[in-house]
Symmetry: D2
Subunit: 131 residues, 4 copies
């Protein structure tokens, strides 16, 4: 494991700090989650939502240096009750509230993605840096 | 519900049979599943695999006229044990064995997608038609 | 080529007609296009839209038995002019009008996907069958 | 535009430097490109490859603070010549060589994604930092 990381480090600019690397890894996760899962069919059912939240969390946590991932899909913004065959929606950025904590060496970056109504945009941002 | 289907039917060619409509709906599901979920991080962990299988099944079942969906991700074709940070893979067509049963009116179409080694191709096909 | 098709045919239910196979192939294309490309960043720029339309058309035409694919992304439904950094959108089903003509043997199926405001749904349907 | 950025900045940890923000934006692009486009049908045809490269570049450049994006899809790693109906492949990480230059304030981050055979992994890394 350490050997793999030593090998990988050669590709990185020498001046990259642990804190910058933590930011890098967290940001990749946000871009990845959005573009992998947007478009998935979804409805207000708690069971469907919880299962998708779990799948996003567990699969995306496999990428390097993710310490934790919290996934919240907002059911109140989803229109479908699945009352008839065409009554469902597909996942959009505005439904998502994602927090990723990435850790590299002694540094931690907490990054987040959520919809900001004032700018009508699903914003990705660095919420908190430790160290 | 019936009203929605009556409305929707106007868009379809008048000569479409129930059997053809069932094929149509099943085929959409196969194309959708492949192109939505390929690329998702995955490893040999049974827990990760089972959670992703469940999410695929429950979300894709929301689309119209899916009677049942079976999702199998083959762990033996996945390389990662997540022994180190870069030890995982992303979902590819060859990992998938998907069966979708679509029902429309009195007709049922069972369609399937799975990797066929002889042609090195993840084939989508109509396995069984009822009526 | 014929040999590959002969091999592949063994997987299909024996009662499948050419017309049903054409429907099957067209439907896969619709499901695939939606779930592959929804989520892609997009803005009102004609150049960006045209390039994405071309890429969808040319890549999705590689799948089996697609005779032609027409891709139209509606610029009037897209909000961003890219006047500032956060002024763009991501591709949604409602932006798309896709026609796929699939041909198998002597049969042709023209299938389509487009947003239907009355049901607030991006409907996939069989527009026309020949033979 | 400046007003939007001032608004957005409130969401970020106060200690984030321009250099860290540039890394953040570049990293999002890498995660986004991989998970948006992996799975797209592809073959050795130069025309198909070039069109997809262009579409990736132009759409992903719409996200904030991307100064430039270079997209290279390696045709030699793709198996299909489209000699018969099933003779094509779908885009995988190993086909991609992507360089993103993100600029924020006076800082630039050049980040890259490409397949590294020694670790059988499509690595994302920070290639060069300016300032």
């Amino acid at each position: 494991m350490e050997n793999t990381e030593e090998f990988v480090k050669r590709y990185f600019d020498k001046s990259v700090t642990d804190r910058e690397r933590a930011i890098f890894e967290g940001a990749i996760a946000l871009g990845a989650i959005y573009h992998q899962f947007v478009g998935t069919p979804i409805c207000k059912s708690k069971d469907v939502i919880k299962t998708l939240e779990e799948a996003i969390k567990k699969t995306m946590q496999l990428q390097p240096y993710r310490e934790s991932i919290e996934v919240k899909i907002h059911p109140n913004l989803i229109k479908g009750q699945k009352d008839h065959e065409y009554d469902y929606e597909t996942l959009k950025g505005k439904h998502l509230d994602i927090k990723v904590k990435a850790k590299y060496g002694s540094a931690r970056a907490s990054v987040r993605m959520r919809y900001i109504p004032e700018i009508d945009f699903t914003l990705m941002y660095i919420e908190k840096l430790e160290k």
